[in-house]
Structure formats: structure tokens, C-alpha cells
């Protein structure tokens, strides 16, 4: 996957600057948020529930007003612009299809209120239904459609009036897994075909990875990091992001030395060399993150030469088909995960065996510890 800045015109389409929002005047739902969405980009706001992503979407659509800061669309501040004048397509979580109208009626609604003449309305409705592959369902009522079909109708309705910007608020949440995966590609295909800008909200990190040009990871009303899925995965800048995107092992320790982009962190009685982002000075606490699939194991004598090599004890082995998953005890940390691709089976290791694990400097990063890390498990909501 390629970063959007390379293949899209980087004209800003939507710009949040210093946006804050509170519903009760005490708790900030969104805090001093800055974000730029480029034209033609598929940007996903990803975060656990209550992290402020939907509120941002609603402010962008005009249903909520920011308490502070401004939102620009195409360079124009939209503070006073009511929702119906914004020309933004919105797909709602529960579709919000009008049950008293047919599918055709639902799709024609935005065209009718724009005063388009009926023959063009029909033509556009038919064209949009073709786009979402629902030809010939004009006369059905939403209640007669399956969940997936309703979802397509909702998307079609948000597209039929040719908006340049479409917002989607967890549109696939109500679908089962297979349908969800199919719709992810479907939405991506439509977005690319039309070249529209999409701002997408989800709490499902896999969905975000599959669909997005860039992902903004939300937490507690602020953005932790905005980047392409690849960068988020490989180069997380925050411990929260490292843990929220994909699976990661975290080892907490204290920074001993900091050198040229590399630092040494003392974890238990071991010294781990990791990429340093300059977040942690010597003597500060740090969390070292290592992806489970980047850890190599060796049994007994055959020595590798990794920058980091540690002794570990196997606590548990699970066979998952495409890979084997080991839970290790390492540096007094329990539950260190290692994934071994299933090429030769699990190579004869058994629970309770002592093994040696190793990984390179580039595969692990020292990040500022996450204060709330121990209390919440972000993967639980993802």
C-alpha cells in the first residue's frame, strides 16, 4: 500500500483545526483536534467506542457544532452552514432508510429536494443502483431487503446526488463477517471508481486496514497518529497505536542509553536494543514493542545472531492452521506471543521447553509507556 501523498492530489478537502466538542460542558468528547483529509482520499477514523470519532463525523456533516475550532471544506469554513446545504453524502450506522418509501423513492429523495426533473431522476437512480449492483429493486420497500441490500441502498442514496465527500459511520457494523468483507471491497471499488473523498468511521482495525488510504487512530477525543495502514503497523509512534493496530508484544522497562536512533532498554535483567523516536531520555520508563511474527526462535545450539536474544520458557502452544502461536515467559513477562508460520509444523517444541528468541533492532521500537495501558485492553473493542 502506498501513502496517499504520492498518488493523490494533496489538495486538502476537509480540514479540522483546533476542533473541540463537549456535550455536557464538563467532559471533552473531542479535544483540540487537527486533521486534514485530502481530495479523493479514503480516510478512516479508527478508535474504541467513545473516542470521539463519530462526533467528529457528525460535526463534519453539520449535525453537531464544535465548541471551539473550525472545520473547512474546500477551504471554506462551514461553521454556520446547515447540514442540508453542505452537499455531503452520509451513510448512517443503521442505514436510516425511509421505511415509507420504496428503494427508488429513497434514492430519488435527494434529487427531488434539489428540484431535478423526473426523467433525469429516474436515469440517475437506475445508474446508481447499477453502481451498487442492485438493478431492478426500485419498487421494493427497505423492509423487504436483506441487511446487505439495505446497506447498498444506503450507500447508493448517499452517492446519487454526486457529492464530492461521503461520510460513513460504521456502516458495516450490523452485517455478518462474510458480507462485511465483501462490502469492504465493494465500498473501496465504488470510492475508486467515482474518485470521491470518503471519511469512514469504524472501531474495527482490520476494516480500517483493508479500506483506507490513511487511518486516523482516535483515543479519548484526540488523534494518536494519522498514517497509511502500513506505516501505522510498521512504525507506530505511540504505544496505544502499536497495540491497537494488529498484535504487539509490550515489554516495559527503563531506558539506559540513547544513541543514534537506537536506545537500550533494561527489561528485567536483559538489555533490549530498540529503535528510538527520541520520546524517552535515559532513565525514563519505556515500552518496547515487538510484533509476534518478527520474533525468531531457536532450539538449543543452533545460534542466530540477532541484536536481541533472550531466553524464554514456553507456556502454551496453539495450532491455528496457518501459523503456530506460542505464549512465552520472557524477562519475567508472561504472555509474550510468538507466531511461527506453519511451514514445517511446530518443530517439536513442547510446553515447558526452554528456548531462545531473537529479533533485530529494526523490529522493535521503544515508545513512551501508555498510562492507561494496563487498565484497558484496546483489542477487546476492536
Amino acid at each position: 500500500m502506498v501513502s496517499t501523498d504520492d498518488n493523490c492530489t494533496s489538495t486538502p478537502h476537509v480540514e479540522f483545526s483546533g476542533v473541540s466538542k463537549s456535550y455536557d460542558g464538563r467532559n471533552w468528547v473531542v479535544r483540540d483536534l487537527d486533521l486534514v483529509v485530502h481530495k479523493g482520499e479514503f480516510l478512516t477514523m479508527l478508535g474504541p467506542s467513545g473516542s470521539g470519532k463519530t462526533t467528529c463525523l457528525m460535526m463534519l456533516a453539520g449535525f453537531e457544532t464544535p465548541a471551539a475550532g473550525t472545520i473547512h471544506i474546500n477551504g471554506v469554513p462551514v461553521g454556520d452552514l446547515p447540514p442540508h446545504k453542505r452537499d455531503i453524502g452520509v451513510v448512517f450506522q443503521n442505514y436510516a432508510l425511509f421505511p415509507h418509501m420504496t428503494v427508488g423513492g429513497n434514492l430519488a429523495f435527494p434529487l427531488e429536494v434539489r428540484g431535478m426533473d423526473p426523467s433525469e431522476q429516474r436515469e440517475r437512480v437506475a445508474r446508481t443502483l447499477r453502481l451498487v449492483r442492485l438493478e431492478g429493486l426500485e419498487d421494493r420497500r427497505p423492509g423487504q431487503l436483506s441487511g446487505g441490500q439495505q446497506q447498498r441502498v444506503a450507500i447508493a442514496r448517499a452517492l446519487v446526488f454526486d457529492p464530492e465527500l461521503v461520510l460513513m459511520d460504521e456502516p458495516l457494523g450490523a452485517l455478518d463477517r462474510r458480507l462485511r468483507e465483501e462490502m469492504q471491497y465493494e465500498i473501496r471499488r465504488i470510492q475508486r471508481t467515482l474518485g470521491i473523498t470518503v471519511v469512514y468511521v469504524t472501531h474495527d482495525q482490520q476494516e480500517a486496514m483493508v479500506m483506507s488510504d490513511r487511518v486516523a487512530v482516535f483515543r479519548g477525543g484526540a488523534i494518536e497518529q494519522v498514517a497509511s495502514p502500513e506505516v501505522l503497523y510498521e512504525e507506530p509512534e505511540r504505544a496505544f497505536v502499536a497495540h491497537f493496530i494488529g498484535e504487539n508484544n509490550r515489554l516495559n522497562g527503563v531506558v539506559r542509553t540513547v544513541g543514534d536512533g537506537v536506545c537500550e532498554v533494561e527489561v528485567g535483567d536483559a538489555l533490549i536494543k530498540a529503535v528510538s523516536l527520541g520520546q524517552c531520555p535515559p532513565g525514563a520508563a519505556a515500552t518496547v514493542v515487538v510484533r509476534p511474527e518478527r520474533v525468531n526462535i531457536s532450539l538449543g545450539e543452533g545460534r542466530h545472531s540477532y541484536a536481541n536474544e533472550l531466553d524464554a520458557e514456553i507456556e502454551d502452544i496453539a495450532f491455528l492452521g496457518d501459523h503456530i502461536r506460542l505464549r512465552l515467559k520472557l524477562c519475567e513477562h508472561s504472555g509474550f506471543i510468538v507466531k511461527i508460520p506453519n511451514i514445517v509444523g511446530h518443530g517439536g517444541v513442547l510446553e515447558g521447553d526452554r528456548i531462545r528468541v531473537g529479533w533485530t533492532v529494526l523490529d522493535c521500537r521503544a515508545l513512551q509507556p501508555d498510562a492507561a495501558d494496563d487498565e484497558e485492553d484496546p483489542s477487546a473493542s476492536g
Binding site: 456533516a61 453539520g62 449535525f63 446547515p82 447540514p83 442540508h84 446545504k85 453542505r86 452537499d87 455531503i88 453524502g89 452520509v90 448512517f92 450506522q93 443503521n94 436510516a96 432508510l97 425511509f98 421505511p99 415509507h100 429523495f109 435527494p110 427531488e112 429536494v113 434539489r114 442514496r157 448517499a158 446526488f161
Partner: protein
């Protein structure tokens, strides 16, 4: 062996089912009996009265047999007079004469005294010719009117209550014609009742719709409080509420005094807001409002807020969003509430009786008058039946147009 066991348990199961069903019916039985005894039976007998009145026919059977062959114009013979005199005297003994006289009087007014007075005198009369005696007591017995009246009062099954209730009359030659304009009472009253009920339903809708909307989309705590405000009047006695309106609206009442004090109205120009149509309107709208608010509230609560948002995002102005998206979805509630208020208003009795004055009376007050004061139960029953048929017709119409199954009653 195994088969036998399953067969037996199957038998047991079906036996148990039968027993359960019996128990269920047994539990429902008191209610069924109660409904039959307190609702279906009295309503049925009353409605029967509108078309069936055996009193005169039972009291004067032989006279009526003789009258049936009469052409209605020629002079009657002695046997008719003799039989009539005998049976009328008999009726006097049995104390049904007054009721007979009343019924005859309803056919042709002024005949009550003719009948009662004549029979009182007949008691002491003796003679060879009953005909001459009776004509001697009152000339009216020589005219055909009284006999015609007796004959038609003697019909067991009759439509005359319906003819009366619809402001028609039977002319001497037996044909049916409309009452003269100034004597039409019931139809104008019926139209007025329908119009007032329609007006009250419309007023309730106009007031109730925003209230229901407010409650349905308020945060839960405030919604409960608002709902309570709608329901508390619903729980207070009807008389108390109506009396409160009297206190507020009467000429020396709160509102008039306030208007006078502020100077909007002169002291001698106090507005008549009660004991007329206005009073009926105001008090009944208040009384019936909850029946509009509750179904509307229930329907509105089921409409997701995202619908309005979706409409707005699709480019609809707030009015378009309301009119094209919100309003159509509230129609089942609008229908249910309006129908309920309308039907209740048509049959409303106590409020118009208390605050309606003479101009604000409804058809039900007329029915009550005939039940309690004029004791013309047949006419009261006919009016009630017409009202019932009208309401059923409206219900069917509503079912055809909107669909009863789409109605939501909260």
C-alpha cells in the same frame, strides 16, 4: 412396549392440553359473562327498542285487528268503538294507559289528554252505543286522526323512531316526507356533533403533535416529567377538570377578570367563553388531549433521529425533512389519535352537559334527554343506533384508507 409408553405419554400430553385449555376458558369466563351481562345484553335490548315496541300492540290487540282492515278515511263502526273502549279500560286497570297515551301522543301531538281523559270518563259511562258515548266525551273520536295514531302506535315493528331521528315524518297518507325546516332537530344536531368532534380532533392534533414530538425526543428524564404532565389531568376526575374550566372561563371567572384588569376587555363586555360552543370546544379538547398525545408519542418514539439527519444530509430543508420523512411515518399515530378523539367526542356527554349551555350540546345530550326526561326510549335508541352505525362506518373507512393494523395506540 416403547411405543405404548410414547402413546400413553402422548395421550397424557393431549389430555393435559385439554385441561389447560379448559382452565384458560374458565379463567376468562367471568369476564365473558360480565361483558355479556353488562354490555352486550343492555346495549342489544336498547337497540332492539329502537325498532320494536310491543306495548300498544299487546294492550289493544283486538282493536288493532279491526283497525287493520280500515281504509283510514271512512267512519268507523260500533264494534271498533266497543272493543277499543273495553281494551282501553282494561289497560287502565293494568296501569299501562299512560304509556299508551304517550305513544299515541308521539304520533300526533295533543292526543294524550284525549285518550286519558276519555277513558277516565268512560269508566262511569254506560250506554248502548260506545261510539256515541266516546264521541260525546270528545269529538276527536269521530275524526280519523286518533284512530290512525292508535293504529300506527300499535305496530310492533316500526321504523318511526328512525324516521323521527332523521327528521322525517309520516304523512297521513302513509308516505314519508322531510320535516319542515323549523322542526328539524336531530340531523342538524348530528351534523353539529360531527363538526364539533372533527374540530376537537383537529385541535387536539394541532396541540398534541408538538407536545408528543417534544416528549418523544426529549432526554429520558425530561420526557418522563412531560409525560406525567400530560397524564396527571388524565388521572384527575373529569368533574374536577370540567369545573376548573368553569372557574377559568365563566364571565366572572379568572380569564375574563384578568382581561378586564389588564384593560383588554370592558367590564360590561366580558366574553362568553363557557356555556356555549366555545366552552364545549375548550373543555373537551383538554379532556381528550391525552388520547391524541399517547399514540403519537408511541409512534414518534419509534422513528430514529437518524432519519431526520439523513434527510438533512440528502439536502432536504427542515420543512422538507419533516413533511416528506417525519410526518408520513407518524401517520399511524395521527390516524389512531384522531380516530380515538373523534369517536370519543361524538359520544361525549358529561362535558358538553356541564359547560355546553344550549348551543354546545351534542347528540349524546339529546339521547340522554330522551332516556331520562321524555322517556322516549325508542327514539333515544334510534339516535344511538344511528350514531353507532356512523362510527362503525368511519372505522371501516379508516381501515380501508389507513389500515387498522397500522394503528398504534401507545
Amino acid at each position: 412396549m416403547v411405543d405404548q409408553v410414547t402413546a400413553e405419554t402422548g395421550l397424557d400430553a393431549s389430555k393435559q392440553q385439554v385441561r389447560q385449555r379448559r382452565r384458560a376458558i374458565g379463567l376468562a369466563l367471568p369476564l365473558i359473562a360480565f361483558v355479556l351481562a353488562s354490555f352486550v345484553a343492555p346495549l342489544g335490548t336498547l337497540l332492539v327498542r329502537s325498532a320494536y315496541d310491543p306495548l300498544v300492540a299487546d294492550a289493544l290487540p283486538e282493536t288493532l285487528v279491526l283497525l287493520r282492515t280500515w281504509d283510514g278515511t271512512s267512519a268507523l263502526e260500533e264494534p271498533v268503538y266497543a272493543t277499543a273502549a273495553r281494551e282501553l279500560l282494561q289497560a287502565r286497570e293494568e296501569r299501562t294507559l299512560g304509556q299508551i297515551a304517550t305513544r299515541v301522543n308521539r304520533i300526533t301531538s295533543g292526543l294524550r289528554s284525549v285518550v286519558t281523559r276519555s277513558v277516565r270518563k268512560l269508566r262511569n259511562a254506560s250506554g248502548d252505543s260506545w261510539r256515541e258515548t266516546m264521541i260525546g266525551i270528545d269529538d276527536a273520536w269521530g275524526e280519523p286522526e286518533v284512530w290512525l295514531a292508535i293504529r300506527s302506535a300499535g305496530e310492533r315493528f316500526t321504523l318511526r323512531h328512525y324516521i323521527n331521528a332523521l327528521d322525517f315524518m309520516r304523512q297521513p297518507d302513509g308516505s314519508i316526507a322531510r320535516q319542515p325546516e323549523e322542526r328539524r332537530i336531530y340531523l342538524p344536531l348530528l351534523w353539529r356533533t360531527l363538526a364539533i368532534s372533527l374540530g376537537i380532533a383537529a385541535l387536539c392534533l394541532a396541540i398534541g403533535y408538538p407536545i408528543a414530538h417534544l416528549i418523544a425526543h426529549a432526554p429520558p428524564r425530561r420526557a418522563n416529567l412531560l409525560l406525567l404532565l400530560v397524564l396527571v389531568p388524565f388521572w384527575t376526575s373529569l368533574l374536577v377538570r370540567t369545573t376548573a374550566w368553569i372557574v377559568l372561563l365563566q364571565t366572572q371567572g379568572v380569564i375574563n377578570s384578568l382581561l378586564v384588569a389588564v384593560g383588554l376587555v370592558a367590564d360590561d363586555g366580558r366574553i362568553a367563553m363557557i356555556y356555549n360552543m366555545t366552552g364545549t370546544f375548550v373543555a373537551m379538547t383538554h379532556v381528550l388531549l391525552p388520547f391524541m398525545v399517547l399514540p403519537l408519542y408511541s409512534v414518534m418514539r419509534s422513528i430514529p433521529r437518524s432519519h431526520i439527519r439523513a434527510a438533512a444530509s440528502l439536502g432536504a430543508t427542515p420543512f422538507q425533512a419533516f413533511w416528506r420523512v417525519y410526518w408520513p411515518q407518524t401517520l399511524p399515530g395521527v390516524g389512531a389519535g384522531s380516530l380515538m378523539v373523534f369517536i370519543l367526542a361524538i359520544g361525549y356527554y358529561i362535558t358538553p352537559a356541564l359547560v355546553g349551555g344550549s348551543k354546545g350540546q351534542l347528540i349524546s345530550n339529546m339521547i340522554a334527554y330522551h332516556m331520562q326526561t321524555s322517556l322516549n326510549w325508542g327514539l333515544a335508541a334510534a339516535l344511538a343506533a344511528i350514531l353507532l352505525v356512523g362510527i362503525i362506518a368511519l372505522y371501516v373507512l379508516y381501515d380501508r384508507v389507513v389500515g387498522i393494523d397500522r394503528m398504534r395506540l401507545g
